[in-house]
């Protein structure tokens, strides 16, 4: 652990409440529907089902990778977890305590969960120096200015930037990689337990991307963090994650340990995603794209299984029945009728008599 002078007395990571077996974050039935309004009076003409009834756990100390195409609800999920958006329904439980409504207050919760955004430029106030940007959040939580600045310098050092040189700079004087390091330092300033990384390396050069990823893995050990790592880059997710959650059109398609999923996906969507990665091996090169077309409109999602319109294995039953998450292996769940025993799909396992 990094030794923090002075400020350790004021801002330290809050203690573990539920013990190691208790998930750090539990999401139950989280749903966000954005109403579509039109006309002067704002009549509701439909809803965008951005996130529809998703449930998952983030375990203490793990990195959960969250993957999916653009528009599948990854960012909405992260903003719901950050309480930047009000969910339509569902709950967020942090270390056994519900957020809001008599459990953790929003301010207490926000100290423990912080976020790194994709766009390193727009996530830093152009009119604050790097040092002030990092020291802002501790100041909000009542840390004296001097301690907050000391803290900011320690964090700059922790992310590999010289405080004396970078502290007084402005965001536009820095490169993308440096800015993302500062965003990470800023997110760590409150000593959070959970860090939501919303595509933190997508906007960076490949070489810088590797540096930042290694820094993130390093900081995770140093600060005792848990990560929710959102990305559309399957290779990056494989590199950093312990478990992977695949989202499709606002729903969980599959969740399980990273090796299990990358070696044998149970959901055809995951399989297609993994196949879509370019292969270095000319023998394995394919001419047909594994996924055709665009995801359907989330205003009018397909009935039953939402992936059926693009699925190679779709059958009539898929249109009738929304597949629940069913066990596909140890710690491995997939929302596909081919996995659910006795679902009526021709490839589904038979029910044990």
């Amino acid at each position: 652990m990094i030794v923090l002078t002075q400020t350790t007395e004021i801002l330290r990571q809050l203690p573990d409440v539920g013990g190691p077996a208790q998930p750090l974050l539990t999401i139950r039935g989280l749903t966000k529907h954005f109403p579509l309004r039109s006309g002067l009076l704002g009549r509701s003409t439909g809803v965008v089902q951005a996130v529809d009834d998703i449930s998952f756990d983030v375990r203490k100390g793990e990195t959960l990778g969250l993957v999916g195409e653009s528009g599948c609800g990854k960012s909405t999920t992260s903003r719901l977890i950050m309480a930047l958006l009000e969910p339509t329904s569902g709950e967020v439980i942090f270390d056994g305590q519900a957020v809001g409504y008599g459990g953790l207050t929003l301010k207490e919760y926000r100290r423990q969960v912080q976020m790194v955004f994709q766009d390193s430029y727009s996530s830093l106030n152009p009119r604050l120096t790097v040092r002030d940007s990092i020291a802002f959040a501790p100041g909000v939580h009542g840390v004296a200015r001097r301690s907050a600045v000391t803290r900011a310098d320690e964090l700059l050092e922790a992310v590999g930037l010289d405080p004396a040189q970078f502290g007084p700079r402005y965001p536009h004087e820095l490169s993308g990689g440096q800015r993302q390091r500062i965003n990470i330092a800023r997110a760590l300033a409150l000593q959070p337990r959970l860090l939501i990384l919303d595509e933190p390396v997508s906007a960076l050069d490949k070489s810088v991307e590797a540096q930042v990823l290694n820094l993130l893995l390093d900081l995770k050990d140093q600060f005792g963090l848990t990560y929710l790592f959102i990305s559309h880059d399957l290779n990056v997710v494989q590199y950093v994650s312990d478990r992977v959650l695949v989202m499709y059109l606002g729903r969980v398609a599959e969740i399980g340990p990273v090796d299990t999923i990358y070696n044998g996906a149970a959901h055809p969507y995951t399989a297609a995603l993994l196949d879509s990665r370019p292969s270095m091996d000319p023998d394995r090169r394919r001419l047909e794209p594994p996924l055709q077309g665009d995801p359907p409109n989330p205003v009018n999602p397909p009935s039953g299984c939402r992936f059926r319109t693009r699925c190679l294995h779709a059958e009539a039953v898929c249109a009738d029945k929304a597949p629940p998450l069913a066990p596909a292996g140890p710690e491995h769940l997939a929302a596909c009728l081919m996995v659910l025993p006795g679902s009526g799909h021709s490839q589904a396992p038979k029910l044990a008599a």
Binding site: R111, F117, N125, R127, L128, F136
Partner: protein, 304 residues
């Protein structure tokens, strides 16, 4: 700790060494703006002209060769250089230079005051509308749209006409014309800033709306709003001149550029040079304010 951590620490150390080698001074934001402004020749020329004018009108009582209200029936409409009058005399034989200097006081006052008033009122309303959004935004913005339905000059003339002639009524009517324009700019800029990630991230760190507005919104919106307001000074000056020209602003014998333009227009064939002088003053001032505000805009753009 794993081997990965060790190699990273080495990389960190290397970065630190590089960083220390390239140490440079980091001036504040406004120092940078001033530095960029001082490199912009056109803007500097305009600012110098404005400064000279300001000094001249502030010290009009010292600089003026004559009393601006001293009439003389035998020295009417004399050309520049006549008998110690550097810029000649007007239709009542008053010294032009002295009247232009004293008139500048009123013209500048009428140019700047409505802008300052509407900057404060419009700025506050616009930032509120932009930051809160929703129904508040709807209420404020639809109200400003009502004002937008009328051409600004017509609106100022109508309000002034309804309230009666006079300086305070002219200021009031011009402020009412500018407030909606500033609200609209402030609202647009604030809405843009409100949706940026750093505001989200400040919210995610538990900061209150007041703190977010103070630390993250205001410093980023005041610049553009201020720049827009400075560009309105020239409009305000011309509008004030227009109101005076129509007899709705200042009243004779007060010296004001717009009014002087009006009273001298009958001399446009006999003494065209003389009749032009107040117009030249209005033109010079407003174009200088416009160029200066343009220069300020580009100097405040951090990314350039």
């Amino acid at each position: 700790m794993s081997g990965r951590t060790e190699t990273l620490s080495a990389a960190q150390a290397e970065l630190l060494i590089q960083a220390k080698g390239a140490k440079t001074r980091h001036p504040g934001y406004w120092t940078g703006v001033l530095r960029r402004l001082s490199r912009d020749k056109m803007t500097m020329v305009c600012l110098s002209i404005l400064l000279l004018m300001l000094l001249a009108i502030v010290f009009a009582s010292v600089v003026s060769p004559f009393d601006p209200y001293q009439t003389s029936m035998i020295r009417r409409l004399k050309p520049p250089g006549f008998a110690g009058h550097p810029l000649g005399t007007d239709e009542l034989g008053r010294d032009m230079l002295s009247r232009l200097l004293y008139g500048g006081r009123l013209s500048w006052f009428l140019g700047i005051t409505p802008v300052v008033i509407s900057l404060v009122i419009g700025g506050v309303l616009g930032v509120i509308a932009g930051f809160l959004g929703g129904w508040v935004n709807m209420a404020i913005m639809r109200t400003t749209d009502v004002f937008y339905a009328f051409p600004s000059v017509l609106l100022a003339v109508a309000i002034s006409g309804a309230l009666g002639a006079g300086i305070s009524n002219a200021i009031l009517s011009m402020s009412l014309v500018f407030i909606p324009q500033i609200i609209r700019v402030a609202e647009t800029v604030t809405t843009g800033v409100r949706n940026l990630d750093y505001v989200e991230s400040a919210r995610a760190s538990g900061a209150s709306s007041m703190t977010i507005v103070r630390v993250h919104v205001l410093p980023n919106v005041l610049g553009p709003i201020f720049v827009y307001a400075t560009s309105l000074i020239s409009v305000s000056m011309i509008l004030a001149a227009g109101l005076s020209f129509l007899g709705l602003g200042t009243k004779p014998p007060q010296a004001e550029w717009g009014l002087m333009l009006n009273t001298l227009r009958t001399a446009i064939y006999s003494q065209p040079l003389l009749a032009m002088l107040p117009g030249v003053c209005i033109f010079m001032t407003s174009i200088c304010f416009n160029i200066a505000s343009d220069g300020l805009r580009s100097a405040m753009d951090v990314r350039s």
